[in-house]
């Protein structure tokens, strides 16, 4: 059998570029100095739901307000995770597990307080009509929630009528659509047309599988999201006041 030294044939750039700092060390630099908040942030980073609840109980016992804890502790802890993900220090499954732990913490705080905080904004997510491939949508939803957005998840194979009705009812800041198949992504054009007919001009982020920038550029409200991680970035950009043209200029990379 022929074995050839890889020198000059390939370069494992991921090994070459790997940061020397461990994820735990990198996270430690970002944690709050407040001891109670730090324990909660560490539990979120580890994705340990039970420890998050324990940390919240301790903070409430120490006199902290449950609703304030959502913004001041849970969201701050989650931001450590999303920042490290953006920097390439940790990987997506860590974010998913941390988001699960954070969401459980939010539910606990809401139950303790008997009220809900105001989210950063609301996003409706769906998978195109006729398409049942939803792992991309699930990642988008988790990343949006991890970044403090309220997500209305319509699920997969969602009829255009249902998308339009939901947008009218919920008045989200953004709609997302994912599709794996070229044949189903055509539903996005119909969603676009029906939104415009109804006088709704709202960013409609589309991505996944066979969806590409050329296709999304063919309808007015469409903004192409190449990666799931673009979804919270796009929502942040909308909050910062960017309109459709600016979003396209930023996120249409090709």
């Amino acid at each position: 059998m022929l074995i050839v030294d890889k020198e000059g044939i390939l370069i494992r750039y991921n090994v070459k570029m790997e940061k020397s700092m461990t994820p735990e060390d990198a996270a430690a630099e970002l944690y709050s100095k407040d001891e109670l908040n730090r324990a909660i942030a560490e539990a979120i980073f580890e994705g340990e739901e039970d420890d998050v609840i324990e940390g919240l109980k301790a903070a409430i016992a120490a006199g902290k307000d449950p609703i304030s804890l959502i913004d001041d502790s849970l969201m701050v802890g989650m931001k450590v995770v999303t920042e490290l993900y953006d920097q390439g220090v940790i990987f997506l499954p860590n974010v998913m597990m941390s988001a699960d732990a954070m969401l459980e913490g939010i539910e606990f705080c809401k139950a303790e307080a008997g009220s809900s905080p105001k989210p950063k904004g609301k996003v409706v997510v769906h998978v195109a009509e006729g398409d049942v491939h939803d792992i991309g949508k699930s990642i988008v939803a988790a990343l949006l929630r991890a970044n403090g957005y309220e997500v209305v998840d319509l699920g997969r194979d969602v009829p255009v009528d249902e998308v339009i009705a939901c947008v009218k009812k919920e008045s989200p800041m953004m709609l997302t659509g994912t599709a794996l198949m070229t044949t189903t992504m055509y539903a996005f054009k119909e969603v676009n047309d029906r939104l415009l007919e109804a006088g709704i001009r709202m960013p409609f982020q589309c991505g996944g599988g066979a969806v590409n920038q050329d296709f999304v550029s063919t309808y007015e409200l469409g903004v192409y999201g190449e990666e799931a991680a673009d979804a919270p970035k796009m929502a942040d950009a909308i909050l910062a006041g960017k309109g459709l043209a600016e979003l396209k200029a930023t996120f249409h990379k090709h």
Partner: protein
């Protein structure tokens, strides 16, 4: 159809495996014999989205595609070709649509075969439409629709029947995003295998009745999902060591189709097919550097090492500078096949196989394990407990971890190594009692995954 488990390898050693030759070649279509000493291009395509609006438009689109491919093949002088039509949903849900497309394609292929003598075959791959909006519905009405589709396309001219089955995906999608190795094992190795065994007995029966070939399946729904999420070297969505563990689990799963009556050639996107070829000796389709029109991978040359059919995965039909996409890609595939066939004819096939393998062997943990020598070892781990779907999948994943841990010349990041070590530890403490594993997982995932319906697997 009776189920016959594989408990031995078809090849006595890894070095016996080469491209273009399989222990059990398959005759199909118009003069073609797959795995009988030569390789053949398998061209795969998708209609333009607007073509799906009506049956007439769709049939017309596939006629153009078929004529374009056949014309290019004879223009450049290639002796054989396989066309694969992966159904758009409309074609499976309305079996007469799929049948009309198959008939239209086969009519054109017969014309070319009669006029030029070109050897060719038509593969049809109905969509696995066995699902409702929120849940998989693997048994019942939707299963019947899939079987009707197979019957219809077989009657209309399809020579090779395939599918990309979805069993286990509801658990896998949950597990892979949480680094949950036991969950991945349960999804792919257990649920996926159980569904494939059920499904392929039905497909093999149809094929037998219609005198066509029950070709094979792929774990596209799971192992390719892992590979695509893992992405390139700099992507941060899944450790590549976990992606290759999913792939070796898929080796144990995809085998179930061949145990339930499939005979090959396996489906192109089953990168696990190198493991399957070692176990079954059946011919296999692969895709790699010539499927960049559909997706990137990190083993484009290596995966060609033992192919019998060489595919482009899928390309949307439209114009390029060099003709239509199907013309360009069929030509590229066929030139690769011409090179392999020259190597076979001149006795240099093992040299070319090894050059292909060596050029990607150390590119990634995935390519390292799918190098034919290591894939063969994974196959041996599977057949060691071939009668037990849980144990054989666990063996495959464990062997994958052992091979990576002892790899020489493969560089891995700390992240990849940590994920590997954690996976190996989790596998090491798993029970060797299949029934206990199954019942524990059923309880856990029924509680955690709301879309999991055990009745899909007769559980």
């Amino acid at each position: 159809m009776a189920v016959k488990k594989f408990t031995t390898m078809a090849y006595s050693n890894a070095d016996e495996m080469v491209f273009g030759r399989a222990k059990s070649p398959v005759k199909a279509g118009l003069g073609l014999e797959i795995g009988a000493g030569y390789t053949t291009a398998e061209v795969n395509y998708a209609p333009r989205p607007e073509a799906g609006e009506t049956k007439e438009k769709l049939v017309n689109e596939y006629q153009r595609i078929t004529r374009d491919i056949m014309a290019r093949m004879v223009q450049v002088g290639f002796p054989s070709v396989v066309l694969e039509t992966e159904h758009v949903q409309q074609m499976t849900n309305n079996p007469t649509w799929g049948a009309e497309v198959a008939h239209a394609q086969k009519t054109i292929m017969e014309e070319y075969h009669e006029e030029y003598g070109i050897k060719c075959a038509l593969r049809h791959t109905p969509g696995d439409v066995r699902e409702d909006k929120d849940f998989l519905q693997l048994r019942g009405d939707k299963y019947n629709v899939v079987m009707e589709s197979f019957e219809a396309v077989a009657d209309a001219g399809a020579d090779l029947l395939s599918i990309e089955s979805m069993g286990g995906k509801e658990i896998f999608d949950y597990a892979v995003l949480r680094n949950d190795i036991p969950g991945m094992l349960y999804a792919i190795g257990c649920l996926g295998s159980m569904d494939m065994e059920f499904l392929w007995q039905g497909i093999a029966k149809v094929a037998q009745q219609k005198n066509v070939t029950p070709a094979g399946d792929t774990d596209c729904a799971q192992a390719n999902t892992a590979m695509f999420i893992a992405g390139g070297l700099l992507d941060k969505n899944l450790a590549h060591t976990l992606a290759i563990i999913a792939r070796t689990l898929a080796g144990a799963r995809t085998l179930s189709g061949y145990e339930a009556g499939a005979t090959g050639p396996g489906k192109d996107c089953g990168y696990e097919n190198i493991i399957i070829k070692g176990i079954t000796g059946m011919p296999m389709a692969f895709e790699g550097k010539t499927s960049t029109c559909a997706h990137s991978d990190v083993m484009g040359n290596l995966i060609m090492q033992c192919c019998d059919l060489w595919s482009n995965e899928s390309v949307e039909y439209h114009a390029e500078f060099g003709g239509t996409t199907v013309q360009c890609w069929s030509e590229s595939l066929s030139y690769d096949c011409a090179l392999m066939n020259t190597a076979l004819k001149s006795g240099n096939e093992k040299i070319l196989r090894d050059l292909l393998m060596a050029s990607d062997r150390f590119r990634d943990p995935q390519s390292y394990i799918l190098a034919y020598d290591n894939a063969y070892k994974v196959g041996q781990a599977i057949v060691k407990d071939g009668n037990d779907i849980y144990l054989r999948a666990k063996n495959a994943a464990t062997e994958c971890c052992n091979l990576l841990k002892s790899a020489e010349g493969l560089e891995m990041t700390k992240f990849e190594t940590n994920a590997l070590n954690k996976a190996a530890e989790e596998l090491a403490v798993l029970t060797s009692d299949s029934e206990k594993f199954m019942s524990d997982c059923m309880e856990k995932y029924k509680a955690e995954v709301k879309v999991f319906k055990p009745e899909n697997y007769a559980l």
